[in-house]
Symmetry: C2
Subunit: 310 residues, 2 copies
């Protein structure tokens, strides 16, 4: 078990105090934290220049919701960064800079927090992403780390709107049982894949799968059409059933639609050349509402994904 709260006052962030803690955070972030004014230490941080369209996303990581004592703190810190990277990947973008706001119980363990920050730093460095600022504040109980990520487009910004009836549906990787298998903190965000897809005009809409495919896919549905998925085509993770693959959430894979007129064979061959180790599955299509079902297809509107406020 990885204790987030210190058993002794001397091991807590409260005992360390604010000024010393901020010094430690910078130390733990290491090369991931540039100096002010391009990093921590002033009222704002000065950003690196953004080329192309600027992108922004924010995702908190909450103890008891997005991770718990079974997740090593290093992996939890990495997950904070990766969840946000997955949103940048889903637009075909490149990460540029991040800030982290911490709100936490003063009894949080310095030892635990060090691993958390080292995990965040390692993941940031892997993507050449500077952590340029942040804030630390007290919370009566609990731990909320909120990362805001800035990115830039690498050309076209691939959004959720743009699909048309007839488009084929694809998903990367495998789906389901993310919590049970530890995938929810071990995944790698699909940044390269996202940029590759955004560069292809036949790819018309994209998003990342975070709340379960059944729930998320609805956001891509064009007017007058519905997503129909062939259960047999779903790429399932380690023993996941069809409902788990569709509803579990935390997959952090990309789902996208490909124009009906595109040659699926040559598209899929190009993918395999670019990403020989990343599975790509054609799982269904957007069909006009009311049109006849094809063999093996099922509509998704009877299923629910992850509900954040339940």
């Amino acid at each position: 078990v990885n204790d987030i709260l210190s058993r002794t006052r001397s091991g807590s962030v409260a005992a360390l105090g604010e000024a010393a803690l901020i010094g430690r955070l910078r130390l733990w972030l290491g090369r991931a934290a540039p100096d002010a004014p391009h990093g921590i230490g002033d009222d704002c941080a000065v950003l690196p220049p953004i080329r192309g369209a600027g992108l922004i996303t924010v995702d908190p990581l909450v103890f008891g919701i997005h991770f718990d004592g079974r997740v090593p703190p290093f992996a939890a810190g990495a997950k904070l960064v990766k969840r946000n990277l997955s949103d940048i990947a889903a637009m075909g973008g490149r990460p540029k800079a991040a800030v982290i706001a911490l709100a936490m119980d003063p009894r949080v363990s310095v030892h635990w927090l060090r691993s958390f920050y080292r995990g965040a730093a390692a993941e940031s460095l892997r993507h050449h992403l500077p952590i340029v600022g942040g804030d630390v504040t007290r919370l009566q109980s609990g731990f909320v780390a909120t990362l805001t990520l800035l990115g830039e487009s690498a050309g076209r910004v691939l959004t959720r709107t743009g699909a048309r009836a007839g488009d084929r549906l694809y998903v990367t990787g495998t789906l389901g049982r993310s919590l049970a298998t530890g995938h929810h903190h071990r995944f790698q965000p699909r940044l390269k894949e996202g940029r590759w897809l955004a560069a292809r005009r036949a790819v018309r809409s994209m998003m990342d799968v975070s709340d379960g495919l059944a729930k998320d896919l609805r956001a891509l549905e064009p007017r007058g059409a519905e997503a129909r998925v062939a259960a047999a085509a779903l790429p399932r993770r380690d023993g996941a059933g069809v409902v788990e693959a569709l509803c579990d959430g935390e997959d952090y894979e990309l789902v996208f639609s490909l124009a009906a007129r595109a040659d699926t064979g040559s598209f899929e061959r190009a993918w395999r050349r670019a990403f020989p180790r990343v599975r790509l599955s054609r799982i269904g299509r957007f069909a006009r509402r009311g049109s006849p079902m094809e063999a093996g297809e099922r509509p998704l509107n009877s299923l629910r994904g992850y509900e954040h406020l339940r």
Copy 2:
């Protein structure tokens, strides 16, 4: 009393559910929330173009820490935006776009949250600041709203480093008793004043006063020098004593240093022409450590400001 938790389940955000809540947040933000891809509704938001240097800052607003049931929710929402605007003001910048991440007890009242968001929207619109995205997540108890604010420089970026021994010290407005007087949520961030100051070369360093002048001023101290303040010159708010003015925090005023060679008289006259209704006080100077004290001066190193993790 402004109840943050709903007394009935039907009045809670949990009863509303995530999808409906996000719809309401957009409705409450109104004109402050542009449509996707430049606003809420995709994996990332596409940012407006940033001219000059980009600036970023993040500040959470925590129930029980930064506000409580005595603060109307409309004012609390406005404070979330204003705290961050004050950081942009402190660099001489202009706000460009913001995202808000909410982590909250599912029992939070929809009615309360509506006023909070309307307050945030009103303050954003006043500064032509779009709220372009966000996230909503559950917290076992409590309420944490984290706003990340992007800005751009309006020319020079005025940082905390740049002061020299001999510089005069100035502060805008009045200091102390911010909590007792309600200033902590009624203040107006000094954006115009910050830009005016950044445009003047003789102004060498600046920050906003948020944790108390005594603590904050140390961040401006040049090597080998210390801040010395004349107690009689401190602009005190509504009956505040000297220690309250120096240590209370949440003033959200600007403190800056002016080059020793600058003509203080003509500088102060120019200020009064530009901001006839905003008090400006020359409160002291940066003196070489060990140099003799002048009459009425005191060093600040014996005093402490607000400690965030106590």
